[in-house]
């Protein structure tokens, strides 16, 4: 066949590390492209001026002092959950059970507030709430971790299934605590006494989660980058066999890291119930355990970058709500816009890691008459090649890591 002689239209080649301004240039271009596509979609489907729709996005997140505070508060909770998942992800332990770990933390908090409210002094109550929320989250993280460490079960499935157990537990207790009977609503807990409500910082009801999130971010950054634990997590993540070879107790590391991951999720649950909502519902976390997966990945597991990625997600979410309110559109329309923007942002990472090399100009004109089918097969081949290269380079990276690990030992 003549295929073997002709060159494909383009290849996909893995890039060397891109200089930072080029990488960010690609990202900026992606955002601009996303805005243009959103604009076209908006005008075609609704006939609205896309610029005023973008304006509403800003309005939704920053339109008033209260809106700024709410944006920051929501961002903080999402950030804490993302940070909680990060050490597990770095270890290549796919903890998608954030939702459940947050919910059990929330449930433990609510249980303390309902059962112990007004019976013991408030500082003691808050202490008990904190301990039980962290412990509950930790246990929810521990169970899949033990199974993974001892019997190598698939943690993606087990953490996911733990979510459903948590949701049903919350549903069960909602029925136990509902007021009035049959309403499936717990209502605000201790509305008149405020027992167990987390304290307001400097008179602001929004500040506490923000401060907690900042402290957690800084601690997580230091923990992952400078502590021995953080280093061990990275090695286990790169290669569990390597970790074992250099004498690390991987079971212990997996369990320890998941305890931390779960406890931090529990902390988010504590803030949601004790600090913000003062109630418990099955949807109190509104899927943020899953959104946090995206936040963490988008930030490439860097806690500081996560501030920006969580901001991006919350900004889009708040903006989307405002768009549907201001223009009388269905919420789904704003979600479509958010989806388009996220698609471009996630998609552009491909162009940062890989580049597309066009066919050399000298190629014979015969190539132009090539059938589409052939091009397709060739493209697939090229992609395969690219994948191979990617794998190779990954293997190299692991080797490097191993070397360093040996050195340190």
């Amino acid at each position: 066949m003549k295929k073997s002689k002709s060159e494909p239209l383009f290849h996909i080649v893995k890039r060397d590390t891109l200089v930072w301004y080029k990488a960010w240039g690609i990202r900026a271009a992606a955002i601009i492209a996303a805005l243009i596509v959103c604009g076209i979609v908006t005008t075609v489907t609704t006939g609205l001026n896309p610029i005023s729709v973008y304006g509403a996005f800003i309005q939704g997140a920053f339109g008033s002092g209260r809106k700024v505070w709410i944006t920051l508060q929501n961002m903080s909770i999402l950030l804490i959950i993302s940070l909680a998942l990060t050490p597990a992800f770095k270890m290549r332990f796919w903890n998608i059970g954030g939702e459940g770990q947050v919910l059990v933390g929330a449930l433990a908090t609510a249980a303390c507030m309902i059962l112990l409210g007004d019976k013991i002094p408030n500082p003691l109550l808050i202490l008990i709430m904190t301990v039980s929320a962290l412990a509950a989250g930790a246990v929810w993280g521990l169970i899949p971790a033990v199974f993974k460490a001892k019997w190598n079960t698939n943690e993606t499935l087990s953490t996911l299934m733990m979510n459903y157990i948590a949701t049903q537990l919350v549903a069960f207790f909602t029925v136990v605590w509902e007021v009035p009977k049959g309403s499936f609503t717990v209502g605000i807990i201790n509305q008149s006494t405020n027992a167990g409500w987390l304290p307001q910082l400097f008179g602001s009801k929004y500040l506490l989660p923000i401060v907690v999130a900042l402290v957690t971010t800084a601690s997580m950054f230091v923990y992952l980058r400078y502590s021995k634990h953080g280093y061990e997590i990275a090695v286990v993540g790169e290669s569990e066999k390597t970790a074992k070879y250099v004498g690390m107790k991987t079971e212990k590391i997996i369990i320890r890291t998941m305890l931390l991951s779960g406890a931090l999720c529990g902390l988010a649950g504590l803030l949601l119930v004790g600090g913000i909502n003062h109630t418990i519902t099955t949807t109190i976390n509104s899927g943020q355990g899953f959104t946090a997966v995206m936040v963490s990945w988008l930030a490439k597991f860097n806690p500081i970058t996560m501030i920006f990625t969580s901001f991006l997600i919350i900004f889009l979410e708040r903006g989307a709500g405002e768009v549907s309110t201001n223009f009388g559109l269905n919420q789904s329309f704003a979600d479509i816009l958010t989806g388009i923007i996220l698609f471009f942002i996630i998609g552009c990472e491909f162009f940062i890691t890989y580049k597309i090399v066009g066919k050399a100009k000298k190629a014979e004109p015969a190539g132009a008459s090539k059938s589409i089918e052939e091009t397709k097969t060739e493209k697939a081949e090229a992609e395969e090649k690219a994948e191979e290269t990617a794998e190779e380079s990954k293997a190299e990276e692991t080797e490097e890591k191993t070397e360093t690990a040996e050195k340190t030992e």
Binding site: S52, G55, K181, G182, I304, S324, N326
Partner: protein
């Protein structure tokens, strides 16, 4: 991190330039913006839920008629988001903030404590009469009368089926898809059943609960389960098209709620009762315009136009249904017939002569008000509260599950 920051800033600038040049074209305004009243509405879901759609239509109708500005916020969960939405509306200059879902109540009360100059009105809530907040109000309607009338239509359909020989008199079993074992639902299915039994004395009913106000799959499955159990007519108190769709597929006649479902069930739809909220919205807007007090508990009735029935379906209803419903409606309005007449039902085989209902909402589910007088259960009556509190389990109705 400087680079990151600069990029984010750059993006923000792109956005904000867009914002400036665009100028936010927000808020819907009514025909004439002469009055200074602005109303903010908070809805649990959006127009895809029949429950919320019913409120949204009422809101638009009332505001357009009176020419006041309004803002609609949809998909607001029953949590702190409701408080924040209420505060945002108050910040945006609304004089009235309204929320439509039961679970919004506590959060609306929190906002009412903070914004004393804004009127907060809440549908289906139970706490206004005990909270003692001058700017917090509850509203509901005597929808049990509408349900009763819909029940009359259902009873006539059962009679027609018996007369045609489709079923025997003993097989006249109704199925009902409810959300929770909450008083509002109990009051609803009991009044519907009493209406049906006033026409078809052998009628019985089975009720199943979905554990959600809006769960299309669960409602559909619930209806199918009831049909397989031998129910020959279905009604519902949950907000999706699940039950009507199941009925249409199975060819079982259906009485729906919150508005006509004829579009999805043209062959099986009989009638639907609903609360028309426009009269209440007009009342509160006018009250604020004229500086009058809004009632703490408002119960809309057939007279106020709050309790309405849709047009009958074109295919399913029995002959003479409209005339019979009109006659019964006249009796209800004249007071010669009462929905919860204690001589028409029994509990555990005995007539009920006294009952302490749980009217005040607290953690103890104890009765606190005597609600039976003059041979009838006084539902949503003056001096109690607007939201239903009828929770007697009367004979003839079987609950298939009670987990919710």
């Amino acid at each position: 991190m400087k680079k990151l920051l600069s990029i984010i800033l750059a993006c923000l600038m792109v956005f904000s330039v867009a914002a400036c040049s665009g100028g936010a074209g927000n808020q819907n305004s009514g025909a004439a913006a002469g009055n200074k009243v602005k109303v903010g509405f908070i809805f649990l879901h959006d127009e895809n839920s029949t429950y919320d759609l019913n409120f949204i239509n009422g809101a638009k109708e009332a505001c357009d008629k009176l020419g006041v500005e309004y803002v609609l916020k949809t998909n607001i969960p029953e949590g702190q988001e409701c408080y924040e939405a209420a505060c945002e509306l108050a910040d945006a200059g609304c004089n009235i903030v309204f929320a439509d879902s039961f679970g919004h109540e506590d959060y609306l009360i929190e906002a009412a404590k903070e914004y004393k100059n804004v009127e907060f009105c809440h549908a289906t809530g139970t706490k206004a009469h005990t909270e003692n907040l001058p700017n917090y109000h509850n509203a509901f309607a005597s929808i049990y009368e509408g349900r009763y009338l819909a029940g009359v239509a259902a009873g006539m359909k059962l009679n027609e089926m018996i007369a045609n020989g489709d079923i025997t008199a003993d097989e006249a079993k109704i199925g009902y898809v409810g959300a929770y074992t909450y008083a509002e639902v109990i009051s609803g299915y009991t009044s519907f059943f009493l209406g049906a039994r006033s026409e078809c004395p052998t009628a019985t009913m089975e009720v199943t609960f979905t554990g959600s106000w809006y769960d299309e799959t669960a409602e559909k499955e619930g209806a199918i389960k009831l049909i397989n159990n031998g129910c020959v007519l279905i009604s519902q108190h949950a907000d999706s098209m699940g039950a009507p769709t199941a009925c249409e597929n199975a060819g079982v006649p259906d009485v729906s709620y919150n508005g006509s479902t004829e579009s999805v069930a043209p062959n099986t739809f009989i009638v639907s009762s609903r609360i028309n909220w426009a009269p209440y919205f007009e009342l509160i807007i006018k009250a604020v315009q004229n500086g009058e007090k809004i009632p703490t508990d408002y119960t809309g009735t057939i007279e106020t136009g709050s309790v309405v029935l849709t047009d009958l379906g074109k295919v399913a209803p029995a002959e003479g249904t409209q005339a019979k419903m009109d006659a019964v409606k006249a009796e209800l309005q004249a007071g010669t017939r009462k929905v919860f007449d204690t001589s028409t039902f029994t509990v555990d085989g005995a007539t009920v002569s006294t009952y302490m209902a749980d009217v005040d909402t607290d953690a103890a589910y104890e009765g606190d008000h005597e609600v039976i007088s003059d041979g009838a259960f006084n539902e949503s009556a003056d001096g109690f509260r607007s939201a239903p509190y009828f929770d007697l389990r009367i004979d003839g109705i079987t609950l298939l599950d009670e987990s919710y």
